[in-house]
C-alpha cells in the first residue's frame, strides 16, 4: 500500500486527472478523528511541497490512531478546540493568499494549500478587511465624484458599514454552508472521489475573497470602463480558484448537476461583486479623461475633461 501511495504521489504534479486517481487524500472531516493510515503515510512522503510543515512533523500529521494526541480531539466547549483552527503561521497565511490571487491551472487550492489544516484566521480577517475596504473606498469614491457640486455635503455614510458587514459575512459563511450541505447530499447518492469538510470550503471562500480588497481600492477611480475591467478581472481570478476547487468534487456526478453547481457558485460570486459595486459606489457621471464610452448622464461639462 505504501508503494502504491508513493507511486501515486510521485505523479502529483501532473494534470488534474491524476487527482482523481488519488482516492483518500482529501477525505477529511472534523467529525472523524481517525484518518486512514494511507493518508498519514502519503503526507509524510510528499516531496518538496510549499507547505512542508507536515514534513517537519508538526501536530498536523498526528491523525491516525497510531499516535496519541490527535489534533481536533478536544471537546468543542473547550478553548483548545478553537485554537486548532488558528494553527497557522504568518508564512502559511501569506502562501494561501498568494495561492488565491495567482491560481495555477490544474492545481487545487484546497489540496495545495489547505492540506487538512483549514484555518479560520484567513476567512475572518479577510472578510473584516473587505468590509471596511469597501465601505471606505465607496465613501471616498462618492466624495471624489460629487466633489465639485455646490449642493453636495459630505457624509461619512456609516450605515453602510453594517450593511457591508452583514452581506459579506453572510456570503462567506452561509454559502459555504449551503454548498457543503449540497455536496454531502450528493455524496450520499453518488460516490464522489473528492469531498471537502465544511471548514475547508469556508477557507476557500474566505481566501478567494482576498482579490476583492485591491479591487475595491481601485474602484475609487471614477471611470466606468476601469471599474468593469476590474470586476471582470477579479471575477476571473477568484472564480477560477473556486471552480478548480469544486470541479473535482462534482465532476463524477450527473453532468447537468455538476454544471449547475459550478454555475451557481460563479453566479453568486458575480452577484456579490456587482452588488457591492452598485450599492457602495455611485455611478460616475463625468469622465475626467478622454471618454472611451460617452457618459449618458454627463450634463455638466467641466474644464477638466479634455
Amino acid at each position: 500500500i505504501v508503494c502504491l501511495v508513493m507511486y501515486l504521489f510521485a505523479e502529483f504534479d501532473d494534470a488534474a486527472n491524476l487527482l482523481a486517481a488519488n482516492p483518500d487524500a482529501t477525505t477529511i472531516s472534523i467529525d472523524e478523528p481517525v484518518e486512514t493510515p494511507k493518508n498519514q503515510h502519503s503526507r509524510l512522503k510528499e516531496p518538496g511541497r510549499e507547505e512542508d510543515d507536515e514534513l517537519l512533523g508538526t501536530d498536523d500529521s498526528d491523525k491516525t490512531e497510531l499516535l496519541a494526541g490527535q489534533k481536533k480531539s478536544a471537546p468543542f466547549w473547550t478553548f483548545e478546540y478553537y485554537q486548532t483552527f488558528f494553527d497557522v503561521d504568518t508564512y502559511q497565511v501569506l502562501d494561501r493568499i498568494k495561492g488565491s490571487v495567482f491560481p495555477v491551472p490544474g492545481k487545487n487550492f484546497v489540496r495545495l494549500y489547505i492540506r487538512s489544516n483549514p484555518d479560520l484566521y484567513g476567512p475572518f480577517w479577510i472578510c473584516a478587511t473587505l468590509v471596511f475596504t469597501i465601505a471606505v473606498s465607496g465613501n471616498l469614491s462618492n466624495f471624489f465624484i460629487h466633489l465639485g457640486k455646490p449642493t453636495y455635503h459630505y457624509v461619512p455614510e456609516f450605515r453602510k458599514v453594517s450593511i457591508a458587514a452583514t452581506t459579506i459575512y453572510a456570503y462567506a459563511w452561509l454559502v459555504p454552508l449551503a454548498l457543503w450541505g449540497f455536496l454531502m447530499w450528493r455524496n450520499s447518492k453518488v460516490m464522489n472521489i473528492v469531498s471537502y469538510s465544511f471548514l475547508e470550503i469556508v477557507c476557500v471562500y474566505g481566501y478567494s475573497l482576498f482579490i476583492y480588497i485591491p479591487t475595491a481600492i481601485l474602484w475609487i477611480i471614477p471611470q466606468k470602463v476601469v471599474r468593469w475591467v476590474l470586476v471582470v478581472f477579479s471575477l476571473c481570478l477568484s472564480g477560477s480558484v473556486l471552480v478548480m476547487t469544486f470541479w473535482p468534487a462534482v465532476r463524477d456526478d450527473n453532468r447537468r448537476v455538476a454544471l449547475a453547481t459550478v454555475g451557481t457558485i460563479l453566479l453568486l460570486h458575480a452577484l456579490l461583486a456587482l452588488g457591492c459595486l452598485a450599492y457602495f459606489f455611485d455611478a460616475p457621471e463625468l469622465d475626467f479623461l478622454a471618454p472611451v464610452i460617452p457618459a449618458h448622464n454627463g450634463t455638466t461639462v467641466t474644464t477638466k475633461s479634455q
Partner: protein, 217 residues
C-alpha cells in the same frame, strides 16, 4: 527509636521566638487595610494608576506596568469621551451620517474583544483583560487627535484644515499602533507576530477613519 534515646533538650538552651508574623508593607493583601482609609485615598490611588498608564502610553517603553496591573477605567473614559466627541456630526442623524454613540462604543469594545480572542487563539500568552486594557489605553493618542480635530474644525473646514487634520490623525494612528504593538508583541509566538499585529492595525485604522471623516453640521 533507639538512636534518639539520648537526645534531649538541655535546660540551658532556651527555645524562644515569636509566634506572630508581622504584617509587612510588602504584603500583597492590602485589601484588609484599605477598608478603613478615607475614600479620597482610594480614589486617588486608582486615579494615579490610571494616570501612570496614560503616561506609559504616551511614552511607550517595554514596561510591564500596563500588563501587570490592568484596569479598565482608562479605556472606559477614553471610549466615552471619543464617542461623545464624535457626536454632533454631519447631516440628519437618521441616515448616512456619522457613527452613533452606540456604534462607536460597540466598535471599540467589540473590536478589542475580537482582537484579544484572536491573539489568544493564535497562541498568545497574555490574559484577556490585560489585552483589553492595553488596547483600550492605546486609544489615547487617537482621542487627543479627535480633540485637535474638533478644535481645528472650529477654525474652519477648508482644505488646509483637512490637511492638518489628516497629518494629525495619521501621526496619532501610527503612535497608537506602535504603542500597542510595543506592549503586546512580546507575548505572541514569534512566527505569528504579523498575524496578531495586523488586526490591531485594522482596528486603529477604523477608529482613525471615523475621526478623520467627522464633519460638523
Amino acid at each position: 527509636f533507639p538512636g534518639l534515646a539520648d537526645v534531649s533538650i538541655s535546660q540551658d538552651i532556651p527555645v524562644e521566638g515569636e509566634i506572630t508574623v508581622p504584617v509587612g508593607s510588602h504584603s500583597p493583601d492590602e485589601d484588609y487595610s484599605t477598608l478603613d482609609e478615607p475614600v479620597r485615598d482610594t480614589i486617588m490611588r486608582d486615579l494615579k494608576a490610571v494616570g501612570k498608564k496614560f503616561v506609559h502610553v504616551m511614552y511607550p517603553r517595554k514596561s510591564s506596568t500596563l500588563l501587570r496591573d490592568w484596569d479598565l477605567w482608562g479605556p472606559l473614559v477614553l471610549c466615552v469621551s471619543l464617542a461623545l466627541m464624535l457626536q454632533g456630526g454631519s447631516a440628519d442623524s437618521k441616515d448616512d451620517g456619522g457613527p452613533q454613540f452606540a456604534e462607536v462604543f460597540v466598535i471599540i469594545w467589540f473590536g478589542a474583544v475580537v482582537i484579544t480572542l484572536n491573539s489568544k487563539l493564535l497562541g498568545g500568552t497574555i490574559s484577556f483583560f490585560q489585552s483589553l486594557c492595553v488596547l483600550g489605553y492605546c486609544v489615547l493618542p487617537l482621542t487627543v487627535a479627535m480633540l485637535v480635530c474638533r478644535l481645528v474644525l472650529l477654525a474652519g473646514a477648508g482644505t488646509i484644515s483637512f490637511i492638518i487634520r489628516l497629518i494629525v490623525v495619521m501621526a496619532m494612528f501610527g503612535w497608537s499602533t506602535l504603542a500597542s504593538t510595543a506592549f503586546l508583541a512580546d507575548s505572541q509566538p514569534p512566527n505569528r507576530k504579523a498575524l496578531v499585529v495586523y488586526p490591531i492595525f485594522l482596528f486603529y485604522f477604523v477608529i482613525s477613519w471615523m475621526i478623520l471623516t467627522f464633519t460638523p453640521q
